[in-house]
């Protein structure tokens, strides 16, 4: 095989490999859509985060606007402290509320943001005041049984 034909094949191979990588990065992965290089972080404290994980999406009206950056336990308030990273182009009012929701019955958990009506916008490192914890199935069932037991018998 001549040198130029060999170079041609190797060039073709490398370009093909690069194209595959690019396809994986842009079409399969989220490099293009969820570029959080310009983002700000806010905190929210929850009584119970259920099964929320780091990197779970943060959605508002069903649109992904950010990611969960960190989850820790606050020993002052004995609540879970969740750090949210939100893209800079999405600004939210200060009285926005955060709740932990589940996509579908068995789906993954995410943080939902419901914008409030305040005229001031959230600033970096602000704390969301209104939060709603995850729905824990065991508690729900317990509540249900308790209600049944205490209901007056017909």
């Amino acid at each position: 095989m001549s040198r130029s034909a060999l170079d041609l094949w190797v060039g073709f191979f490398v370009v093909l490999g690069m194209a595959a990588l690019l396809f994986l990065a842009l079409r399969v992965g989220n490099l293009a859509s969820a570029n959080l290089s310009e983002a700000y972080t806010v905190k929210a404290r929850f009584d119970n985060i259920g099964g929320l994980k780091v990197r779970a999406p943060v959605k508002s009206a069903g649109v992904v606007v950010g990611r969960v950056a960190d989850i820790s336990f606050d020993t002052q308030s004995y609540r879970a402290e969740v750090v949210l990273t939100i893209a800079t182009r999405y600004a939210f009012p200060r009285d926005t509320s955060a709740s932990i929701l589940t996509s579908g019955l068995l789906g993954e958990q995410y943080v939902g943001l419901d914008p409030g009506a305040d005229v001031d916008m959230l600033k970096p490192n602000d704390v969301l005041q209104i939060t709603q914890s995850a729905v824990v199935l065991e508690k729900l069932i317990g509540q249900f049984l308790f209600d049944k037991a205490s209901a007056p018998a017909n």
């Binding site: 095989m1 040198r3 060999l6 170079d7 094949w9 190797v10 073709f12 191979f13 490398v14 093909l16 490999g17 690069m18 194209a19 595959a20 990588l21 396809f23 994986l24 990065a25 079409r27 399969v28 992965g29 989220n30 490099l31 859509s33 994980k53 780091v54 990197r55 999406p57 992904v64 579908g104 068995l106 789906g107 993954e108």
Partner: protein, 264 residues
């Protein structure tokens, strides 16, 4: 009593031989890196090896990737639709491929297609005294023969794994969207929402790079170290395929446990 002693002695000698061989391999690797500089300067030597280990492995990688993706599409849909989440097919196909199947299966194929060929070539050069002849001509075989094959493998492997994964996603799309009729928008958007560039794709590329280094090193070492007979070469080829497969699976476990710990 004496039976136990014999057994212990045998275990000891096997362990000793294994450790000595590992030591040889480590020293070989260091020498290889030391002599890589001069051979990397002559790019066409490595280009030729990228052709032999990369371009010639393309066909098997493309075909296998396509079929693995198609099977993932069929089986995945079958299972997912029981839970009413057939739309998540894209997520299943893409995550399985980019995180695990792409690097691992491409690595196994690479070991048996390119790794065995490299071992055979170097082993044959050793058997026919070509390496010694080169050494007598004051040309270092490590720099002239071994290093280019090693780097050719290291360059080829991540590209092959990426092509494998991309073909797999295409195969999953073909079965899921075109034949079964999963919603195209849901297929891609759920995939994009779940597959993270940094966590999944970059980690997959890192894996395939590590596998490439392991397979290429095993292949050149077995060839260079083989017994210079026809039988020795064939045994070395077998060892290349077996040790590469074991190395890939063991490294995969180690890397996975570091990379995906605590993530979903």
């Amino acid at each position: 009593m004496s039976g136990a002693v014999v057994l212990l002695r045998r275990v000891g000698s096997v362990v000793n031989a294994g450790v000595a061989r590992l030591g040889f391999a480590a020293r070989f690797f260091l020498l290889l890196l030391r002599y890589s500089g001069q051979s990397l300067l002559r790019v066409h030597l490595t280009m030729r090896e990228i052709y032999f280990s990369g371009v010639l492995s393309l066909l098997i990688i493309i075909v296998s990737g396509l079929f693995v993706g198609m099977v993932l599409g069929l089986q995945g849909y079958e299972t997912l639709q029981r839970f009413g989440s057939g739309d998540a097919l894209g997520v299943l196909v893409a995550l399985s491929l980019t995180r695990e199947l792409g690097p691992v299966v491409a690595g196994l194929l690479f070991a048996s297609r390119a790794g065995s060929a490299v071992t055979a070539e170097i082993g044959l050069m050793k058997t026919t005294e070509q390496l010694k002849a080169m050494d007598m001509m004051a040309v270092n075989p490590l720099a002239r023969v071994v290093a280019p094959r090693f780097w050719g493998g290291v360059v080829s492997m991540p590209l092959l794994a990426a092509i494998f994964s991309a073909m797999g996603v295409f195969g999953g799309w073909l079965i899921g969207v075109v034949f079964i009729g999963v919603d195209e928008g849901a297929f891609w958007s759920q995939m994009q929402a779940a597959v993270d560039f940094r966590e999944d794709i970059v980690n997959g590329v890192i894996k395939s790079f590590v596998f490439g280094v392991a397979v290429a090193l095993i292949a050149v070492f077995e060839g260079y170290d083989c017994e210079p007979t026809a039988e020795g070469v064939s045994r070395a080829i077998t060892r290349t395929v077996v040790s590469s497969a074991l190395a890939i699976l063991a490294l995969d476990f180690v890397l996975t446990s570091f990379m995906f710990r605590g993530v979903s």
